[in-house]
Symmetry: C2
Subunit: 602 residues, 2 copies
């Protein structure tokens, strides 16, 4: 991959178009977190393949902004290129606008593809750049179409129907609920652009994006019609008939602009954080130029919150998926511990253990693949937050230190996400201490009770306070929602330091995954996926609690017991008893014996 | 006070002006929390005298919105009037716009005085009412000028210079810092409207507002000039000379509009949450009508955060003020305990103990008055969050139950705010249990360590988690900043459930005051004022901690020791040792003996 040649090709286009800089965010026309290869523009132009990052190229310089999860990976990948790494949320890092202002000076014009950024992101960028001496922004150009010769096509994989027995609610019922929510927001319709929202609404799934069972499309809802904009080769006659029966029309993917122009209701809800700038501008221009045109209601898509509250079938599906995932994890951990006993770790590497775990999951019923690429980081690799072993970086395991294993799977009945940090042999005091602090944070979230409607931002400190007292911290979030055989990251609720106003309510899934990463030494993360359930109702309202869905022992060997509170020890013992009781009937005798030991009281 | 007659007079004006409703918020042209009598319009029209509340009057109905602190008080005060109480943040309570929409129907016009609401509040109101079938808003009318015959004048009390030995930084140096901050926000100047911001900037103090040492004025800063808009009778020749020496010009209070029209810089920073709608519109109209006019930079006033970070002199002043306040509190508590020993409480009432405490504070050097009206609530009155005893409600104390005492003073060198809940005799198990839970919450905030820049919203749960586990909660904030011989509530940082993005940094003061209020039973609140200080710096950045500034024992008799963690007991014992060691040298022998017992280890 010759990044410098690509930069040179890009600069030719920029010169022709009189653009002083071009900005490449990491997303697609649907604001996806993981995108189809066709839209991996930022990766193609920079070589950096993390899930989050923005590349900016001027005529004489280039820079890439990413967050702490990717600092080490990006440093590696940008070596030998012109790119300067910009560490987000670290003091002294300029914003993109500030850097462009410095590099290009006032009065310049810079480009960004209006299809691959949200309306609000582009509007903010325009405002920020205007402050930099009046820099202007052009949004109607994708320069890579001239220079990315072997660019993959937009995927055309078939779409499948997601059975009602798992979805728990028919598409037409979901659409009726969405229309009711739209009316409450004084809106006549909406454009849905998030791929997982569309898949959830229509009870359809696809394979267009790696690990995310979604399909590329838009959905336009009005008071009378529902239209799916999609490449029709993706739809079998069965799916076409199903859609018709659910009251959903079909039109070509490319005609969504036309659909918006032909939309004749009084107003339309567009979520400016979700709808891309190009489509948003189609409606906005009509609104400002034509007196009788449709008005924009700017609001969060009601589907966002509806989707995160799981119904009974979905919850049953999660329990079933977690049982299978727990069985696979226990088989894996027992297998791994066998190596420990025989000190034969050198036969195992980060990649081989990932493969083994994947194979054990694949044996489970309804398995559909991984929910994200497995992170298996041994020793110092555990400190690279989103480390993914490659044949070049892969290292053999040793009978000492910590293996951080963050993994998950897609089953037809649910999606899983679990992290365990496993002692492979003797540990340093620092490893034990950090492991115990992270475990304390994990348990404090599990123990927490909170009023219905609290935000995850309010809960976040419970996972961090033990770490903060030691001057330790992690810069990623503590938890995110998990989809029902859908994306492993599901918003808008999150547990994290940044403000996330989406209220936590009963029926939501959320992960609990604090960690600590000591560069060059090791990493620790401990993650369960949780379900929010009712706790008690008092004169002060409804209170909620967490119930762990994940079924897998947490390694006890690194724990410094004196550092745990009595309530923390009790939680761990209770959890382990629950894990054993639930999984043991599904294991063979040797596995059950191993699990009993792994789940014995601390 | 005949509220119904006032409503009838108001409706005559409304009919004449074709207004379907009129809205009375609780503030003044400066967005003050506590306002001079001249601007107590909402109190005059409704009879409700709490510090926060909005009255809305239609031709046939009236309603008053307030928050949980005032539910019980408002219920009392609205009795016998037309007003319906609207409980904020309680499910089912309509918003003001929804209620007006329901009462008045679409197409109506409603009024609000644009001088007495912030630009953002009025803009939000206009947008919300437009959604209610297109209700419009008129902002250029104060109907009370026709009907409030004995309305108090705008206060004209003299302004005094705040000595540099307490302020720690000269006014011209503060102005230079403000100009630098404005440049960083790409602004040439600003209009300062918050009275405490003006007092802080100019090192002046006044007595225009009860308990708040501020004076009514505006301050307009440009790149060249600084102009104080103020009624000149308030300024002695000495103050005029001082202002001149500090580079500050003076103009009549009423000429601020003219000042804005004559402001000729490229742009001006206006904080839409602070500047009133009327003044904001002066600039906005010019901006939209005149091509070359000054542009508005909408941003938080930089003074807000500057003011909250105390310099060394201010911190020394706080320590001195807290020492005096602690001495007064200990003398008071010892006096009160004497009644307990002799079971002579019936000689004491809520008002008489408030008076006694005030008298003891007044004996202290540099005393300038109370920082807010003392809340002394005995038994069920303790459950009324902002209870203020009147001769009608005053009750004698008994040798049992809890007395909640929330009080503070203004000293020339600092402002204090402290709450103690005191057992007057035997307690119920519920009283002890709730007291201990509130104390746990208080201590967890005191123990907390956090990264510099964390928000108070992130810390808030530490004060609540013990309560939430029992299904208990309080709906007010956990803490607020405290001014330097200024307002007892100082923003923008707060510890509370709602999102408050202002970062916590070293040098800030903040209170720690969780509570529980069981209507008809009792209330518990335990409050110290804290200082934020550096904790440790690691590879993960600068970490901060709290240091208690308040010096006063926390009643140990209600504590159920088994409910406290070892670290919580250790904190209490250490705090008490510190209180004793600091205060004892300033007490007489009997007081010191009493304090030693009050501060003995749990």
């Amino acid at each position: 991959m010759n990044i410098n040649q690509r930069l040179s090709d890009l600069r030719e286009v920029m010169q022709r178009e009189h653009l002083a800089a071009f900005i490449f965010p990491s997303t697609d026309p649907h604001q996806s977190e993981y995108v189809a290869d066709h839209w991996k523009s930022r990766e193609w132009i920079s070589g950096f393949d993390g899930s989050a990052g923005t590349a900016v190229v001027t005529m004489t310089s280039a820079a890439l902004w990413t967050d702490s999860r990717y600092f080490l990976a990006a440093e590696e990948q940008l070596k030998g290129t012109e790119y300067q790494l910009m560490r987000l949320k670290i003091e002294g890092t300029p914003t993109i606008a500030e850097w462009i202002g410095r590099e290009c000076g006032g009065g310049a014009e810079v480009g960004i593809d209006g299809w691959c950024s949200s309306a609000s992101a582009v509007k903010d960028l325009i405002a920020d750049l205007r402050k930099q001496g009046g820099i202007t922004v052009r949004t109607n150009l994708d320069p890579l179409k001239f220079i990315w010769s072997d660019r993959p096509a937009i995927p055309e994989h078939p779409v499948e129907i997601y059975p009602l027995q798992y979805a728990g609610e028919a598409a037409h019922d979901k659409i009726a609920r969405i229309r009711k929510a739209l009316r409450e927001q004084h809106a006549d319709g909406m454009l849905m652009t998030a791929l997982d929202d569309i898949a959830w609404t229509l009870n359809l799934r696809g394979t267009d994006v790696h690990c995310n069972p979604v399909f590329v499309s838009y959905l336009l809802i009005s008071t009378k019609d529902v239209t799916l904009y999609i490449n029709k080769v993706k739809l079998s006659p069965e799916v076409v008939a199903y859609l018709k029966a659910e009251g959903v029309g079909v039109a070509p993917y490319e005609e969504v602009q036309k659909g918006l122009k032909d939309y004749f209701e009084y107003n339309i809800l567009l979520d400016p954080n979700e709808v891309n700038y190009a489509l948003y501008e189609v409606v906005r221009k009509q609104e400002s130029e034509v007196r009788s045109a449709t008005a924009i209601v700017e609001a969060e898509s009601p589907v966002k919150r509806m989707k995160t509250v799981k119904n009974e079938r979905e919850i049953a599906g999660f329990r079933s998926a977690m049982l299978k995932d727990g069985i696979a994890m226990v088989k894996f951990l027992k297998w791994l511990s066998g190596y420990s006993e025989n000190s034969e770790y050198s036969e195992c590497s980060e990649i081989s253990v990932s493969d083994r775990l994947e194979a054990l999951r694949a044996e489970q019923p309804l398995y559909r693949g991984l929910s994200f690429d497995t992170i298996a980081g041994y020793g110092p690799h555990g400190a690279i937050v989103h480390y993914e072993a490659t044949p070049e970086t892969d290292i053999p395991l040793q009978p000492e230190g910590l293996l951080l294993l963050d993994s998950g799977a897609q089953y037809l009945d649910g999606t899983t996400d679990i992290t365990r940090t496993i002692a492979l042999g003797p540990l340093t005091e620092e490893e034990k201490r950090v492991y115990t602090l992270v475990l304390k944070g994990h348990i404090q979230i599990e123990l927490c009770k909170f009023p219905s409607g609290a935000s995850g931002t309010q809960l976040d400190i419970l996972a961090r306070e033990a770490l903060w007292r030691e001057g330790l911290n992690y810069l990623h979030g503590t938890g995110h929602g998990v989809g029902t055989y859908l994306n492993v990251h599901e918003g808008p609720h999150q547990i994290r330091m940044e403000w996330k106003p989406a209220p936590l309510v009963a029926g939501m899934t959320v992960t609990d995954e604090p960690g600590i990463y000591l560069a060059g030494k090791f990493g620790v993360r401990i993650e369960n996926t949780l379900l929010i359930t009712p706790y008690k109702e008092t004169e002060f309202g409804q209170f909620l609690q967490f119930e762990p869905l994940t079924l897998c022992p947490i390694d006890k060997t690194p724990i410094i017991k004196d550092m745990l509170l009595a309530e923390e020890i009790a939680w761990l013992d209770n959890y382990h008893e629950y894990v054993y009781d639930t999984l043991a009937p599904h294991l063979d005798v040797e596995e059950a014996v191993w699990l009993r030991e792994a789940c014995s009281p601390l």
